[in-house]
Amino acid sequence: MTAPFLVARNIAKRFGALTALANVDLEIRSGEVLALLGDNGAGKSTFIKILAGAHPPSDGELLIEGNAVAFSSPKDAAASGIATIFQELALSENLSIAENVFLGRELKRSIFGVPFLKRAEMRQRVDGLLQELDAHISDPEAPVGSLSGGQRQAVAICRALNLNARLVIMDEPTAALAVAETRKVLALTRRLAGRGCAVVLISHNISEVFEVADRIVVFRRGRKVAERLAAETNHEEVVSLITGAHPDVRALEKTN
């Protein structure tokens, strides 16, 4: 078993009086697809936003390859090799695909100390990425706001791929996709893991999760209630873990 790329220890997040996360311990390994499951409001998005540097944790610590890190912005997390596709995608609808893919880390050349955009080069790289994803977009210069849900998802994935990340986090990446596109995204998660990347996938589709995940973690009311190897569990058990009907979860919730 490989050493974990990222370790989260005792993570908690409070929004005012609301405790969105408490005591979450989790290890994320390179080359592995980890699925994060749980009901609406279980705290999945909040947890990955902490990994992505979008929220500071109220408590706990993150270690990357054994070293403690503290992200003060999404840029910090990106610099540590973490790319995130947020549930709400975080794309700028008024900008083009290439502009979105490179937003915040544009390619530029310095002329008299002024950073000028390398538009042609960014466009070329994005065309390559879109081809790799097999995404068909008729007008790559169109604002992202005019694209379909699936096409936007492809743009968000391009953004993550472009970072050459060591950990790619996808929050419900297939929620807006048709069957064929869903297949492509699932295949992509496996390809990323095959390349040695760590992948975190959030999904409400359990069969989808069993197709690609190596490990499954279940969140419930802001706590991690279960962790299973995908090969050692099944659909029914996962459902009962999510709903809280599982004896393990009941026992846990009684003690808390």
Partner: protein, 315 residues
């Protein structure tokens, strides 16, 4: 040139033809110079306002910022200060007040419309206190002579505006700054999640707007050689009107610098023409106000607002 810019150009030409027919004093080279001369300050302030609106900001105190900068310049000239000091004073005061605005709006997280409205009240009182009910008048002409000069046959104001336009255009269309500005205008939270230094970009933009306004103040003092109590009181309204006429979205995320230039010219052509055909100058803010309401009303009912519809759906 997009459709909006083209229609503005046509509107300018139509207005010129109509006023030429209506008034014998209109179509003279002297009047053309007057209109251009009257546009100088607003063009500079308008460029800054375009950046502010593009990032979802606004500054309704900007006219009084020009007034305060003009008072500083006037005081230096009046004290027989060096013309160099007088030239630096405008941009310096502008930058300083830009920092104050940014501190309130960006660091203090007060919504821009409210924060700058509050500052407007403060600055107005400051103007009153500084002038003490008296105009600065009869200022020496050294600045005037400097700025009335020509370089290679081009008047200095035209040159300064051309340079300012070029710099702002390059920054917006050719550097990462422009993308960051428009991304912030579309959604601050998404821009933040994309790794954009939102606070830095917003802060800097308020400072840039202040500097441009300070340069405008320099031309104001050089031209009129006095600073009156009501200095800059209509500039913010005029600038906002010109910028949204030009096609920059009041909600942010979209901007047109060429549109702003044409918007300023149209506004000044209308104000000058109406005056010449005998409409009292009291009516000028009415014209500006009606233009703002007209443009926004037109945009709301036409399908020119696809971006804002996304913004609403994604908010």
């Amino acid at each position: 040139m997009n459709g909006r810019e083209l229609s503005l150009l046509v509107a300018c030409l139509v207005a010129i033809v109509v006023f030429s027919v209506a008034s014998p004093h209109y179509a003279t080279s002297g009047n053309a110079v007057t209109v251009l001369r009257n546009s100088v300050e607003l063009l500079l302030i308008g460029l800054g306002m375009t950046l502010l609106l593009a990032m979802g900001g606004i500054d309704v105190s900007i006219g009084i910022v020009m007034g305060l900068a003009a008072i500083a310049i006037g005081r230096i000239l009046g004290a027989d200060g060096s013309p160099f000091l007088a030239l630096v004073a405008g941009p310096a005061v502008g930058a300083l007040l830009g920092c104050v605005t940014a501190a309130v709006v960006v660091l203090g997280r007060v919504p821009a419309i409210v924060g700058t409205l509050g500052l407007l009240g403060v600055y107005r009182t400051a103007v009153f206190a500084l002038l003490g009910g008296q105009w600065l008048s009869g200022l020496p002409s050294n600045l005037t002579d400097l700025l009335a000069a020509t370089v290679l046959g081009i008047p200095v104001p035209a040159l300064v505006i051309a340079i300012a336009y070029l710099v702002v255009w390059l920054a917006v269309r050719r550097t990462p700054y422009g993308l960051h500005l428009l991304a912030i205008g579309n959604s601050e939270e998404k821009a933040r999640l994309s790794g954009i230094p939102v606070i830095k970009v917003r802060f800097m933009t308020f400072v840039v707007s202040g500097v441009l306004t300070g340069i405008a103040a320099t031309f104001y003092v050089a031209t009129y050689r006095n600073v009156e109590m009501s200095v800059g009181s209509t500039s913010a309204l005029d600038a906002i009107a010109a910028v949204i006429l030009g096609g920059t979205s009041i909600l942010g995320g979209r901007c047109s610098l060429l549109g702003t230039v044409l918007g300023v010219l149209l506004l000044r052509i209308l104000q000058n023409g109406l005056l010449l055909i005998g409409v009292p100058s009291l009516w000028q803010p009415v014209v500006t106000g009606v233009l703002i309401i007209g443009v926004l009303g037109f945009e709301a009912v036409s399908n020119r607002l696809p971006l804002t519809r996304f913004q609403r759906a994604r908010a």
